[in-house]
Assembly symmetry: none
Homo-oligomer: 208 residues x 4
Amino acid sequence: MKKEDRRIHVLECASEVFAKKGYHETSVSDIVERARIARGTFYLYFENKRAIFEELLDQLIEKLDRRIKRINPEDDVARQLKANVRGIIDLFLDNRELTKILVHEAIGLDEGFDKKLAQLNARIRNMVKASLDLGIEMGILRPCNTSITARCIMGSVREVINYLVVEAEPGSHVSGKERDSLVEQLMAFSLFGLSGGSYNELNNKPLW
Amino acid sequence: MKKEDRRIHVLECASEVFAKKGYHETSVSDIVERARIARGTFYLYFENKRAIFEELLDQLIEKLDRRIKRINPEDDVARQLKANVRGIIDLFLDNRELTKILVHEAIGLDEGFDKKLAQLNARIRNMVKASLDLGIEMGILRPCNTSITARCIMGSVREVINYLVVEAEPGSHVSGKERDSLVEQLMAFSLFGLSGGSYNELNNKPLW
Amino acid sequence: MKKEDRRIHVLECASEVFAKKGYHETSVSDIVERARIARGTFYLYFENKRAIFEELLDQLIEKLDRRIKRINPEDDVARQLKANVRGIIDLFLDNRELTKILVHEAIGLDEGFDKKLAQLNARIRNMVKASLDLGIEMGILRPCNTSITARCIMGSVREVINYLVVEAEPGSHVSGKERDSLVEQLMAFSLFGLSGGSYNELNNKPLW
Amino acid sequence: MKKEDRRIHVLECASEVFAKKGYHETSVSDIVERARIARGTFYLYFENKRAIFEELLDQLIEKLDRRIKRINPEDDVARQLKANVRGIIDLFLDNRELTKILVHEAIGLDEGFDKKLAQLNARIRNMVKASLDLGIEMGILRPCNTSITARCIMGSVREVINYLVVEAEPGSHVSGKERDSLVEQLMAFSLFGLSGGSYNELNNKPLW
DNA sequence: TATGAATGAGAATTCATTCAT
DNA sequence: CATGAATGAATTCTCATTCAT
């Protein structure tokens, strides 16, 4: 097995174990056992337990970063939003194991992790906030405290993601239709809250 | 120091350490050091680390349960909602340390904790969902998937809480005005999303 | 409760716990719980855990010492022997708890105990040996290595005692008849081994 | 040092410490200190203190089982008995440390040990009893309560063994002649008790 | 590169004993 | 005398990491 292949193999195995047992409950022994390598070999590829975990998270963060497209206000905004949300959901469902870790575990591990996750959150949140600011400036969205509202949106998305990867049946497949429906509900809630309106009607026209 | 006082003292110290270092990084030594008691004294009051943590959580959960009032659809719904949200925010801000633990830590610790928190979540979520179902039936709210929407609402609230107790300046005081504003924003978002409308106008009248 | 009464009460409780759980498995907590006294009170009456155990053993050793009568060769030897053995068996059966400790536990506790028990053993063994020496000198017993033979006799007795207090049904009563039978068997074996003869016939007459 | 060698080395060291300090007074620290290995290394080879002790005992029990040969009544019984007793004595003298543990310590440790030893005792005792029953049936031995008498015999043997490994000078060598003499005395006592007769004369001929 | 035996710091927990009330 | 809260030394066991082969 080539060096890079083995590295990837170990990463995969670690991901499985971490997702199943959690960071703290996972020992290096668990990982090397599953990967069928010697204890020492592990340390040839990764500095320590923290490092392999961090690398797994970095992978997911990077993928997430690539999936999220900046909104172009000139184009159909609703479609772009929809695509973004759907992309995120797809990514997480395709990486359940890692997502579980991201959502469930990578919190309170140590200051380094927390900071990294906080930064990721802040980055996305700022994108959302910028979009809101723009939408308001353009007269499409109602004026509001965009900082707080951005958090509300992220909280909604996070909660639905969490439901999908953690609470819903572990191995179950979530069909495209179901995903569509989830996106629909998420967006309807974000755009109109509990009151009426349908985002299908919107076409860069004022929402209020 | 009386027995019950000391017990409370240890609980407080533990709460501080847990909030600062996280459950796993906190050792019994950390707690006894901060509480300035001997190693063995700790075990006089609590069975083990898990037990003291559980007690702290139970305290918070109980308080939370008591704060959340069932909505009476006959009365002014908006005011009741507002009061509930404000109550929750007040509770968490008055128990920052514990809340930090609840939001940040009490996840993936062990099956027991996870289950307890999942149950708490489910209980509140079901209350929210029931309210939504009722609102829709009464023609006040637009029809939607109330399961998912309930999650969206909870996610929004959770995220704002998290902001308040974790990200915002640790020692800072959040004034009544600021709390009011947060509640306002949260409710505006939940009721109208990003579109127009003001919940102040509502008086059990249809939102759509 | 008077001082001496309480002391005795604690000793009894300790005896019960020691017999049931063994020396090492018994904690001072066990004793004070059963005796319904406070932890500190225990140390008013006994220096420490070792001390109360030693006192219990000393009691039994003393009783044992008093029970064993020196054989008078002028009188009916067989009857005296029989009385001695029966006396020992009665003592142990009347003090099952303590005996269990003596046989089962008071070994390897610490050098002090071991020495004390070794001395007790040696004292009794020497009495036996002296009797054998006398018997041989008088031509009643066959010549033999009386040191070793004395050990054989003691081993036989010890084994039967052990059977009675440890292996046989804990609470069961051993009737006088059964005790007689045991003594009979023990003496028959010691006097004639597996070969023929009946000690009833002997009357200070040569056995060979 | 090879893995198996180290394992054996640790077992030997543990055996020495156990024999010297007793099971309860021996800590894992004592063992690793004597074996000059690290704390963790111990747990690489043995699950815990109980496990290494049990292994030591099992070794001895197994050896003992192998040494004891069933008596064939067709052959010279006295010779076979003598060989058995001599074999047992040799085994114990060759494994003084372990024997000391077996005789002195392995009692009241925990239910598991006690049961194991009780079973060993019962097994041997039953062999003895069966031999006695057979001897009586064949008319070679006098009728007696073979259960009790079997215990007497075992007690005699145990006591002599105990003398050899515990009381007699620890490092001293017991010569073949001395061992022969011990066997002689033991058998003489068992066969003829304190009365006359010499087992040398017997040749499957009636003892009474 | 790969191995896996060895390490030892550190964690949780117990319990005999003390001492202030 | 009696109490029982407090102590802290001692013990067992784990596991991330190192290093000789």
